[in-house]
């Protein structure tokens, strides 16, 4: 019997996603973001986390979801990446739940490819499905297509 893992759920455009709690450093609201021109893709910009500079990745854009309506709340989930902290911007943060490791299944083939490659599993709950984020892939922005018209 595998150990149950603690995951924290978050909302993105009506869907429920989750991250292992162990990967989360903190949750911050209301950060001022400095955009990084030319970075394109899902990079919202840079934020100041008490003197440390972190890249902010908008998960809506990362999943090719419609942009967040202006005025709608956003929350930053800070995770530790290899090179330092990275902020994942989501719509809202939900609960911390315990799930048995063997209840996590492979993501179904029917998931949209843009979503499927960033999800490492799916977990059935009474109130619906929870998609488990593959954090390292989600923040690997280098994998994003480079700007089509950038000069060599």
């Amino acid at each position: 019997m595998a150990e149950p893992i603690q995951i924290c759920t978050f909302a993105l455009e009506g869907s429920t996603f989750a991250l292992p709690v162990a990967e989360i450093r903190e949750v911050v609201r209301g950060l001022s973001v400095t955009p990084v021109p030319l970075a394109g893709g899902a990079v919202r910009g840079l934020v100041n986390l008490r003197g440390q500079i972190a890249m902010a990745v908008d998960l809506r854009r990362r999943f090719d979801l419609p942009a967040r309506p202006s005025g709608q709340d956003e929350v930053n989930v800070v995770v530790d990446a290899g090179e330092g902290p990275v902020c994942l911007t989501v719509d809202d943060v939900g609960d911390v739940i315990l799930v048995p490791a063997d209840s996590i299944e492979r993501p179904p083939e029917t998931l949209r490819p843009g979503v499927r490659e960033l999800v490492r599993g799916i977990c059935k709950r009474d109130d619906g499905l929870v998609l488990l984020l593959d954090t390292s892939r989600a923040i690997a922005i280098g994998a994003l297509r480079r700007e089509p018209d950038s000069k060599p």
């Binding site: 400095t34 970075a39 090179e83």
Partner: protein, 780 residues
């Protein structure tokens, strides 16, 4: 404990080997071997002792054999010849390999270097039979004991066993002469035949007297310095970086409040932070000499491999540089020297035919220029054959023949730094494999530096490497574009140009679809920052004027059009993640006083992206080749009119900004004069009172006071101070020969600029003297 000894031993050995290498080569250069022998002997002796103690037998044996050879040389039995240098250099190489093996595996490897040891023994014994030397008495080994006492008893073999070979060894090589006194006799006077001229008869047995006690590090007596792990310095630097940020934030909050006590405290913290920052940065500074140590060897090897005769001269070795940066330019320098010997200096017969001395010279010089350190590697060879470079570039597919024909000299030389380029007709073992110069450029640019090449046919070429003094905290200009602020490192900045609407048509133009800036007759490419970053074209200021920041990239100037020019600040540059770094436009990011993040522009990357590096047709400084002959580099000067219509010049390298102010804005304060400047108080020093004129007293204002005066803003001791000057004539870029014999307080010397004798001012000295005087008066 043993680990600590090992660690210290390895660190020390690394340093010893570098100095040793240089000493050995200096003998080839004509230095008296006897000066070098003692030191070299001592090093090998120490290595041997410690290696024995730590159980590294191969290391011990090798240094032992080298020690014996040196012993024979010291005793005059063997002469120091070139093959001796060669063999000893090979020993150094072998020691490096062993060191590397030790740090990798913990053991000193299986390679016994039997051949090398054999050669050493052979060399040492070559004359040993003929001129024997009396062995020191057996009591002599006693000095060895303290080392054993100082260190804990080794776990393995008993101390006796470890140290036994130290003394026993020489006997194996040099058996005592049959007729000499028995070893037990105490003050053994060597028989006259064996007594080398270097050993005075009055001295007790030379070998043991000159032999130092092992375990005493050469620098042990130096009580004034301390070895500090680099990690501690890095941590200190990071903390100071954070402190600078917090200080900036404090000043920001303080400006918003009217609280004099808070103001005083924050001013004090401001000063303390600046002082602390300077001290910590100084602690990380090392003389560039540390990067020069390998060069004589590199030059010698390269010369030998190509059958050339080359002399290496270095100057400015005391120039200091941040340790990280020093490490980063170590390899590029090696490559440049190797390249200068291999491609620059001609073969002896060609040199003689060209009327040059047979021996070529490679000169490596370092000096500080503003916030940068410049290192030049210059050779007196045949210069770069531009035609050959073009052909080669075409044949390697770097450019088309058509493009090659249109390349300017500067652009052609730039091809040398492209990946996959090589001009050597034959691929030698040391260079010419098409890797190297591009790696040099990449490595230098990675640390915010630049490299360029200047060549003159028949006269030689110069590679000029510019690197910042320090990496972490740099002065930067804040510019605004779109709704964001960006930091531009001061090192890349040459001047700021404000273009009022009425002069816009004259100064800014579009030539063949390219925007340009007309600046004192030169035409510079103009890049719109907002357009380049796709955040929208640059906007005008409220009064309709436009702001251009003139930047330097790879020795080439271009204008950057921004919305607004802000303050100069000390910023703490933090690295970006690899994903953002690879955009090539930003070199880092920084947290500003208001807590927001600002991106630091990578000026080279920006220039490359905008295409101004490749496209600029005309080099801005056409006189480069002429400068090369005199070995001078071009600098910018602000020309002023002094007393009696004399000329004064201020080197612009250290100037942060040049401002024009109305005299009425200058306010008297308790400690002199000051103006309100960008929300802060800028203390002022008047040039007319700081510089004591030789011919007459500070001149009285002639006629009406000037409408506007110029303020030269410069950082002195970590804070900005303004120098008030009232008659600016021009800004010129010239290579000048400074006559330092004409120096006087506040003046570094005289030079001819624009055909007139001009006194070059030492603004830092003038400003600090000017700041001291009123402060002392206020205190006293």
């Amino acid at each position: 404990m043993a680990d600590e000894i090992l660690e210290e031993f390895m660190a020390e050995l690394g340093e010893l080997l570098s100095t040793l290498e240089r000493d050995l080569i200096s003998v080839d250069g004509g230095r008296d071997p006897s000066e070098v022998v003692a030191q070299t002997f001592r090093v090998f002796h120490t290595v041997k002792g410690t290696a024995g103690f730590l159980g590294f037998d191969r290391l011990r044996e090798l240094s032992h054999a080298a020690e014996d050879l040196l012993d024979s040389i010291r005793d005059g039995e063997v002469a120091w010849t070139r093959p001796v240098t060669d063999t000893l250099l090979q020993v150094l190489d072998a020691l490096r390999v062993i060191m590397e093996t030790i740090s990798r595996t913990g053991g000193d490897g299986a390679e016994a270097y039997a051949g090398l040891v054999g050669r050493l023994r052979e060399a040492a014994a070559s004359m040993g039979q003929e001129s024997p030397v009396v062995e020191p008495p057996p009591s002599a080994p006693v000095p060895v004991a303290p080392a054993a006492a100082a260190a804990p008893p080794p776990p393995g073999p008993p101390p006796q066993a470890v140290f036994q070979p130290l003394r026993a060894a020489p006997k194996l090589v040099r058996p005592p002469a049959p007729g000499s006194s028995p070893p037990s006799q105490t003050p053994a006077v060597p028989p006259p035949t064996a007594a080398p001229s270097t050993a005075p008869a009055a001295t007790p047995p030379l070998p043991s007297a000159a032999r130092p006690e092992p375990g005493h590090a050469p620098d042990a007596g130096d009580g004034g310095s301390l070895r500090v792990p680099v990690a501690v310095l890095d941590r200190l630097m990071n903390l100071v970086g954070e402190l600078v940020l917090a200080r900036n934030q404090l000043l920001c909050h303080e400006a918003a409040r009217e609280d004099t006590r808070l103001g005083e405290t924050s001013q004090r913290i401001d000063h303390l932070t600046a002082g602390l920052q300077e001290s910590v940065m100084k602690a990380r500074m090392q003389p560039i000499d540390n990067a020069f140590t390998r060069l004589p060897r590199v030059c010698r090897d390269a010369a030998q491999a190509t059958a050339k005769r080359v002399r290496l001269v270095t100057s400015g070795a005391e120039t200091e540089l941040d340790k990280t940066l020093l490490e980063a330019i170590r390899d590029p320098l090696v490559h440049l020297v190797r390249n200068a010997v291999d491609h620059g200096v001609e073969r002896p017969e060609q040199r003689v035919a060209a009327g040059k001395p047979e021996e070529g010279t490679v000169a490596v010089s370092a000096f500080q220029d503003g916030g940068q350190v410049v290192v030049e590697v210059q050779d007196d060879g045949g210069g770069v054959n531009l035609e050959k470079v073009r052909q080669k570039a075409v044949s390697s597919g770097l450019v088309t023949a058509e493009e090659a024909a249109r390349l300017s000299e500067r652009d052609t030389l730039d091809l040398v730094f492209r990946p996959g380029f090589s001009t050597a007709e034959t691929v030698t073992q040391i260079s010419g494999r098409g890797v190297g110069m591009d790696v040099v450029r990449t490595n230098v640019e990675r640390i915010g530096g630049s490299v360029e090449m200047v060549s003159r046919a028949g006269r030689g070429s110069v590679c000029r490497v510019r690197v910042p003094l320090t990496l972490v905290i740099v002065p930067a200009l804040i510019v605004e574009s779109g709704d964001e602020r960006y930091a531009v490192p001061q090192a890349n900045l040459s001047e700021l140009v404000r273009v009022p609407p009425e002069r816009e048509a004259r100064l800014l133009a579009v030539v063949q679809g390219t925007s340009v800036l007309r600046l004192r007759g030169a035409i510079l490419p103009l890049v719109d920052l907002g357009a380049e970053l796709r955040t929208g074209a640059a906007r005008r200021a409220a009064d309709g004027s436009r702001s251009v920041v003139v930047l330097n990239a790879q020795g080439r100037q271009f204008g950057l059009l921004v919305d607004e020019v802000g303050d100069t600040e000390e910023i703490v540059v933090k690295p970006l993640g690899a994903q953002l770094q690879q955009l090539g436009v930003y070199s880092g990011a920084t947290v500003r006083g208001d807590g927001r993040v600002a991106l630091v522009l990578d000026v080279h990357g920006l220039a490359r992206r905008a295409g101004v590096l490749e496209d600029a047709e005309r080099p801005p400084a056409p006189a480069d080749a002429a400068d090369l002959a005199t070995g001078l580099s071009r600098r910018s000067y602000l020309l002023l009119r002094g007393a009696d219509d004399g000329r004064l010049a201020i080197p612009l390298g250290e100037v942060l900004r040049l401002e024009e102010v109305e005299p009425a804005r200058i306010e008297p304060t308790g400690a002199g004069e000051a103006i309100q400047y960008r929300g802060r108080i800028l203390p002022l020093v008047r040039l007319s009172s700081a510089l004591v004129e030789r011919r007459r007293a500070p001149r009285a204002p002639a006629g009406a006071p000037p409408q506007r005066v110029h303020v030269v803003v410069q950082a002195v001791g970590g804070r900005d101070v303004g120098l008030v000057v009232d008659s600016v004539l021009d800004v010129v870029e010239e290579a000048v020969m400074l006559d330092a014999s004409r120096a006087r307080p506040g003046v570094v010397g005289c030079a001819v600029i624009q055909g007139r004798i001009t006194e070059v001012l030492d603004t830092a000295a003038l400003l600090s003297a000017g700041m001291e005087a009123p402060r002392e008066a206020a205190l006293g």
